[in-house]
Symmetry: C2
Subunit: 200 residues, 2 copies
């Protein structure tokens, strides 16, 4: 491994975290190098920077492309493939959430829907299905909320995040003017419902 100390420290950390994040060490390190580079990076650079076999770098690049976290970027006068990360940090966050949702949540949602269609054959199964229903409801609520939020432009998103829990104060305050008219949640207070169709 052949990198300036500051960069190397970050790259090594990403390697260590890799397994916790569901990628492997090499994938983590390769991503870190590309993320920190101020120019497109090619496989040779990565072999040099990370110090693993070229074939391993190739695998890592394939994996990162399957996550859509890196893109090919051709460099003038070069035959080799060069890569860059998504330019905007918020685009990266959105992609990460999207992909992890796809890999870690969607399959379970599918299974839950299947199993909730079946009729329980015993009290034991009936109770189990009740639990599955709870889980399904929570996942639907959370992913539905995110589907809504992800469509916001970044500026708006940052605004919302900056507000934090103050948003609730805002809601309180609104409730004082517009008395509850119902909504899609279970609670008795909600928005006035003029901002688009209900979710499924």
């Amino acid at each position: 491994m052949n990198l300036p100390p500051l960069i190397q420290a970050f790259v090594l950390h990403f390697g260590e975290m890799g397994s916790r994040w569901g990628i492997n060490r090499t994938v983590g390190q390769v991503y870190a190098v590309i993320f920190l580079a101020n120019r497109p990076v090619c496989a040779d650079d990565l072999v040099d920077a990370v110090g693993v076999a070229r074939s391993n770098v190739a695998m890592a690049l394939k994996e990162l492309q399957s996550w859509e976290l890196i893109r090919l970027k051709h460099v003038a006068g070069e035959r080799r493939d060069f890569y860059v990360t998504l330019d905007d940090i918020w685009a990266i966050v959105r992609k990460l959430v999207e992909q992890r949702k796809r890999r870690e949540i969607d399959p379970t949602l599918t299974v839950l829907r299947e199993l909730l269609m079946q009729s329980p054959a015993s009290e034991e199964e009936r109770f189990a299905q009740e639990r599955m229903q709870e889980m399904h409801g929570v996942i639907e609520l959370l992913t539905g909320w995110y589907d809504d939020i992800e469509r916001l432009e970044t500026e708006r998103l940052v605004q919302l995040l900056s507000l934090g829990a103050k948003i609730v104060k805002a809601l309180d305050w609104k409730d004082k003017l517009f008395v509850a008219k119902g909504g899609r949640g279970k609670s008795k207070t909600s928005g006035e419902g003029d901002a688009g169709p209900e979710r499924s």
Copy 2:
């Protein structure tokens, strides 16, 4: 493995997903069994249900306790240890987010803070540090937002999630009455700032 078909299907799915979720198959299956059970579950039950060695069950239980996803629950007239999951599904979600944040984000935040203290020794390092700064900023914003949100009671949280992006409409609308008075984010519009102290 010895379970009713509906339950078995769910348990097997949790086992398969385990590796994507950063736990192993047995831990996933053991959790699923306890989650779906309508009574506290002991190690013997789990050996029977999941069909792995008792020692493996013991490891899985330890792991799940380290996540604080299961609790010991003594059963009248039994010497053996029985376990239950957190009762409320929202408590489970909160715990999951808390733990994954602790394991997957906090270590990186620490490293970022360390590396951002150092002075870059080259243009390459200066640029890298800029990227680290972006990453640090995003993580702080997201985790700060969550710290705020997690304090809400569940009813309020569900209300907020149900609103989805409508919340933004509400903000728009508020802005029309109260012209921007600043806030903690970068954006020019924010809450009225009467909901507690600013975050660091």
